[in-house]
């Protein structure tokens, strides 16, 4: 169980401090699948990074299975079973896919564990020896990132826009994988996504906009809000001005 209370995050931007998250409160239970959704720049990835320990919250608490982990670093949280698949995974010169998976597993790879690559639509024979460097396509890199998280036995697993850049065939394979994980594991699953098919998997959807939790509920409650304009945070006159400026440049 993951509890977040009164959490806020202010980061140092180029032009002074930026309030990225504020007044975040929720409880995520074991075995349930949550989807964080909301507009670009709303704060989803930042929230995930605060949970992973990459960002230190300005205030608030993070409690994992009764233990206060707010002051713990990334490594310590990883060892307590928190995992995060990056929205934009980094590349590594000289490190192979097999080695990365092995590091994630914490032990030698067995044949069975290579199945994590199948789960993301990659053929192990073709990829285990490849380096996780600039020679991988964006979609391949993203799928390998997901596989490194699948390989781990986690209490909380956060996948940041797993669908981004992934082809349709692999995407359907991936949604099946998440469904299977949800059915079989006690892990608290968090998927950050804009995809209706991923939203359909959720036990609960958390709508993050403007740095805070705007709404929580089932897909039936949240989907109409997303489709409507309820979460547009941009004042109308600003959009009108934007249209004017297009005029100017013609």
């Amino acid at each position: 169980m993951l509890e977040i209370s009164d959490l806020s995050l202010t980061l140092d931007g180029d032009k002074g401090p930026v309030e990225v998250l504020r007044d975040i409160n929720f409880v995520l239970r074991d075995h349930l699948l949550y989807v964080f959704t909301g507009p670009n720049g709303g704060g989803k990835s930042s929230l995930a990074k605060v949970i992973m320990g990459i960002y230190k919250p300005t205030s608030g608490k993070i409690i994992l299975n009764g233990e206060d982990i707010t002051s713990l670093g990334v490594t310590e949280r990883a060892r307590l079973g928190v995992g995060y698949a990056f929205q934009q995974p980094p590349r590594f010169k000289g490190l192979t896919v097999g080695e990365l998976l092995q590091l994630a597993l914490g032990k030698e790879l067995s044949v069975q564990e290579c199945n994590y690559l199948y789960d993301v639509g990659l053929c192990p024979q073709d990829y285990l020896e490849r380096e996780v460097d600039a020679s991988l396509s964006g979609g391949e890199l993203k799928r390998i990132e997901i596989a490194t998280l699948l390989a781990r036995d986690l209490n909380v697993a956060i996948y940041d826009e797993p669908e981004a850049g992934i082809d349709l065939w692999s995407f359907s394979r991936l949604t099946e994988t998440f469904q299977k994980l949800h059915d079989r594991c006690e892990t608290t699953l968090i998927l950050i996504s804009h995809q209706e098919r991923i939203l359909s998997l959720a036990d609960e959807i958390i709508l993050v906009a403007d740095g805070t939790v705007k709404e929580k509920g089932s897909k039936d409650v949240i989907w109409p809000l997303i489709m409507g304009d309820a979460i547009c945070t941009c004042p109308t006159n600003c959009i009108e001005r934007a249209e004017d400026s297009v005029e100017c440049y013609r």
């Binding site: 990459i54 490594t75 990883a78 990056f86 980094p90 590594f92 000289g94 994630a104």
Partner: protein, 305 residues
């Protein structure tokens, strides 16, 4: 050979035991063991210290190991080795020098390696440098490598400085003739107060000659590195220089690649980058359970592979 010798041989030449094929092992300024084969002859030079290694034309798939070990302080070893790789041969040469300096005086090895890779021959040359020993004495290695690659020949140089070398000045020059190709990969790690300088000059003399120089280095602590990779195009040719360095702590790195074209059909490219380990890479590895130090180690190991 004692345990230290064996360890050094393993580190610099990947030798567990006496190697297959031709070899010449030099220890503290003198040859201690040698083997020749029907196709590969090794002769002691008469006018100066060193050996001539002659590979018969058409010799395929054989190897020559010529490691050098220094295990005493105060030694200054200077050696000239000449390699003649016959037409159409395809051969692996494993050189390498390891210094175990137990004392407070310097130990130094300056090796001059002169290669001719004849028509259509292929040579892969692997050179590893390594130093150890707890005394104050410096471990100094100054290799000079001269390579001439004839028409249709191919040379691959893998130059690795693993660790423990206090001071190095390496100088590599090569001339490539018609349709000859050369790949140079350099890997360097310095730490403490070590100093390393590497000059590489490849002249593309013949038509359709090509080369690629890939240098990857890591400078830690207060160490210093300077790189001068140069490619000169004198004909229709292609050349690519790629220098990539990771800088840490108080280290200093200078990277000065140069490309020079003296022919309108020379296509030359250089890229050079120096930077610290990307924060994202560290965080990614820490997020799968590695400590910061383990993450750093993993990234550097991959980078220098």
């Amino acid at each position: 050979m004692n345990a230290i010798d064996k360890y050094i041989l393993h580190t610099v030449a990947g030798m567990h035991d006496i190697p297959q094929g031709a070899y010449n092992i030099r220890k503290n300024g003198a040859g201690i063991s040698r083997n020749t084969t029907a196709n590969i002859d090794i002769r002691t030079k008469e006018d100066k210290p060193g050996i001539d290694i002659i590979v018969k034309p058409g010799t395929i798939g054989e190897s020559v190991h010529i490691p050098v070990i220094l295990t005493a302080e105060g030694l200054e070893d200077l050696v000239y080795n000449t390699f003649d790789i016959g037409e159409g041969a395809d051969i692996l040469i494993v050189a390498g020098c390891g210094i175990h300096n137990p004392g407070n005086q310097n130990a130094r090895h300056d090796g001059v390696h002169d290669f001719i890779v004849r028509k259509g021959a292929r040579m892969r040359y692997v050179e590893k440098h390594y130093g150890e020993g707890n005394g104050q004495g410096q471990k100094i290695l100054n290799p000079k490598t001269i390579v001439e690659v004839e028409e249709d020949g191919y040379a691959e140089l893998e130059l690795v400085q693993i660790s423990g070398v206090d001071n190095t000045k390496r100088d590599t020059v090569a001339r490539l003739h018609k349709n000859a190709h050369m790949l140079v990969t350099e890997r360097m790690l310095t730490d403490g107060n070590q100093f390393a300088e590497s000059k590489i000059l490849v002249e593309l003399v013949g038509q359709d000659a090509s080369t690629r120089i890939i240098s990857r280095s890591v400078a830690r602590d207060s160490s210093q590195q300077i790189f001068y990779p140069r490619v000169v195009g004198l004909n229709m040719c292609r050349g690519h220089v790629q220098c990539d360095a990771i800088i840490m702590h108080q280290a200093q790195i200078r990277s000065i690649p140069e490309i020079a074209a003296n022919h309108a059909d020379a296509q030359l490219v250089h890229e050079a980058a120096i930077g610290k380990i990307a924060g994202e890479q560290l965080i990614k590895l820490m997020s799968i359970g590695l400590s910061e130090a383990e993450a750093e180690e993993t990234i550097l190991k991959g980078f220098l592979k």
